[in-house]
Symmetry: C2
């Protein structure tokens, strides 16, 4: 039997294969002069050039169109072309499936310029395009290196529940889940599957905290949901979130971890996905002519310096000063106690510091109940990491580990205490200082791939009115 | 500053730390003779022995109870005890949180024998027990090595949608999702979030197929849902599933992959988690006295031989023969065309072959529409892998890649064609032979940890009437 290789294997080992007989399979990306086929199998952005032997030229030329899937057996030869070091001289070709529609070819498989909106309507076919396959390979490598990072640093992966009874964070609208026949009214939740109202989780943090208080270091990596009617290029109704939670960690250690983690991911992708990144870099240059900086430069900038760390109070001072000096005029004037808006965050990151910024110690009134109160009584041990272009990429905090203070905060924020008895329990039995953060995975994919719309970095995006595929 | 170490690091490097000053943090597992504390921080099942210095003995003895969280600074010394090679002589101890309730200590933290049912009612605290922390660490290593296996074999990780519009498989009851205020009647789905009825996905396979037909090799690893009212020790309403899908793969390659994959996971856990496995092995011996075989022997048996591969038709022949020979009497008599029941599968695996069995080429009438029809017109290219104890651990098939035949199968099985236009599309544009399988992650964790109830291998199990945490 002749051995089957991926195109990535063949091109990576290149000359090792010369004069060897191999079998490859893939989809045709181009066909020129009735001789040259470029074949892609998804393993890499690069194509293998196939030279049709004379006997095939007439026999199968008509059946060969862009997108047709074929199997080729042939001999690897050194290539005289400049683009590749090897090529495959065919001995046998089998056609699996052809592509009759020339419309499909023009819009999806070989357009002059891809319209991302058009591609989204063919979400099932966009895996066949160069641009989307690059994004998917980068997405894979990012997910893998995230697991690798936590694994090598002694964290345990935790599957927190998707179906939940309460919106513990008090933030965000939720999707309700039911098995009741909704034609019957009134609805009796005692007859529902879980005998109560249930929702899709917005975060696994509270559950992850209970796990960290036994296992030490844990992280989640799973889907979370928001039922807000947000039709923007940065929001999804269903997205993947990473939430590490660490016992015996103070806010500073949490910031160190978050910064090291982000840099690790970007370094890993620059190291392992350069060919996909380069492809995106070139195409973004063509498509987003406004972009001053290249994608690669933007990524390298994140690695270059330690992130700027400033307290919320310092950040507010800087913003007010800059406004006074008439260097900038904000739509929302800055006052202490307000939540920072995109315009403020962008000014700090893009104009003032020109590197990623970590803002910490936010006013307690704008943050969740579980964040640890500082001695000033006014601020909490929260931290947000702000990135160029996308703004907040990570939000985290040291958690309130003191039972009485936590209870008071729950009351003050009108959170339902009764649904949190188990969470409160962890502060009664061997409570410890602990911290964690959340990272929206898809938004980081958007940053690293440089895509304008978050719907183009996830296979089947879920947004308002949109769950067809 | 004194460096902080995990207990795992200290015990693994052992003598390297002797006479070094270190900082450790964790929860007290035992306290004897007012001198010896055993401390655990979740990083390992092993504890660090701490020797209280004289000055502490009186000062803090009263505050120290099982479960109390502490920070210790001390000097590592060689231990004269037989159980450990090093111990920590304390210089400074800080108490973070004590445990007032002696009830909690007796039921959760230090019971004579754990009642798993009781523990489930304290799901947020069971991370603090030896048994559950072992299971969670093994679960982590299994998840990690699954990502590692696919990554190293050229697969790309794919996030398929959780929210979906249809039950494409036609199998299993589904949870409905809505944002409509259910007090209003009649319900108008045009006003719902996605403008149509939506459900929680039972499988990512069909979406994964579309990705494999562009990227070559992909796999999913995410939560799936079943709304069946199954109150058994083997079913969860929310569980994690792994579904690889591979272009240009025939059934035999699919079986090879599945067998290699399962053996890789078990070998990895035997290699990396022996201390957790040994702990479980010992405790299972005590608790499940009926068990003839040890946990470790059971796992090694899976690795020892190639899995037995037989067609469904052969399997039926064997079962009928065995019944004729009066070696066994089945509750459900065996006839060709029926689905094999647990009793039949168990007989094949535990009594007849005594190793894992792959049954392939099932009758088409008992399998899903997307499985490839054999030339006999009666059977499909399906395969199930049957394991000792748990039965079916993997189910997979070669997919029907021929458009016309697939369309006919969709009609024959009363599947809604209109909802599958995108799936059918992939057979119209460069279709290729392809295959894949599904593995229920939690059930494999159950097999590897030897637990009787699947609810004890996932942090917060979801089952009928049960979604409190």
């Amino acid at each position: 039997m002749i051995k089957k290789y991926s195109i990535k294997e063949l091109l990576n080992k290149g000359k090792f294969f010369i004069n060897k007989k191999v079998l490859v399979e893939g989809w045709i990306r181009s066909f020129r002069y009735s001789i040259f086929i470029t074949l892609n199998d998804g393993s890499t952005i690069r194509n293998l050039q196939i030279i049709l032997s004379k006997e095939f030229r007439k026999k199968i030329t008509k059946e060969i169109t862009i997108g047709t899937s074929i199997q080729v057996i042939g001999i690897i030869k050194e290539s005289i072309g400049a683009k590749q070091c090897i090529e495959l001289h065919s001995l046998e070709i089998n056609i699996y499936g052809s592509v009759p529609s020339s419309i499909l070819q023009k819009t999806i498989l070989q357009p002059k310029k891809h319209s991302f909106e058009k591609l989204r309507k063919q979400a099932h076919l966009r895996f066949r395009t160069n641009i989307f396959s690059c994004i998917m390979r980068i997405r894979h490598h990012m997910a893998f290196c995230i697991h690798k990072y936590f694994h090598e640093n002694g964290f345990f992966y935790l599957h927190t529940p998707i179906i939940t009874t309460s919106n513990c964070e008090g933030s965000g609208k939720m999707f309700q889940i039911t098995t009741i026949d909704l034609k019957n009214n009134p609805i009796d939740y005692k007859k529902d599957f879980f005998k109560c109202k249930t929702y899709l989780s917005v975060s696994g943090q509270l559950e992850a905290e209970t796990a960290a208080l036994g296992l030490g270091k844990v992280y989640t990596f799973g889907p979370v949901f928001r039922a807000e009617n947000s039709n923007t290029s940065r929001h999804l109704s269903e997205f993947w979130m990473i939430e590490p939670e660490i016992a015996f960690y103070h806010l500073e250690e949490n910031m160190n971890l978050a910064e090291d983690f982000l840099k690790f991911i970007i370094r890993y992708i620059l190291d392992k996905n350069m060919e996909d990144l380069s492809f995106l870099n070139e195409h973004l240059k063509k498509w987003k002519k406004k972009e001053k900086e290249s994608l690669l430069k933007k990524l390298e900038l994140v690695l270059k310096f330690p992130f700027q760390r400033i307290s919320y109070t310092e950040a507010v001072k800087i913003l007010i000063q800059e406004e006074k000096k008439q260097k900038i005029k904000f739509f929302n004037p800055v006052v202490w106690g307000m939540d920072l808006q995109s315009e403020h965050e962008q000014y700090l990151v893009d104009k003032y510091f020109k590197i990623p910024v970590i803002v910490f110690d936010y006013p307690s009134c704008i943050k969740a109940f579980y964040m640890r109160i500082n001695n000033d009584g006014k601020t909490v041990r929260a931290m947000d990491i702000l990135f160029p272009e996308i703004g907040e990429v990570i939000g985290g905090s040291q958690r309130e580990e003191r039972y009485e203070i936590l209870l008071q905060r729950i009351k003050d924020t009108n959170t339902d205490k009764n649904k949190l008895w188990w969470y409160l329990d962890t502060r009664r039995f061997g409570s410890v200082p602990h911290s964690g953060f959340g990272l929206g995975f898809d938004r980081l994919v958007q940053f690293i791939t440089g895509m304008n719309n978050i719907r183009d970095v996830i296979p089947f995006p879920r947004t308002p009115n949109n769950a067809e595929f």
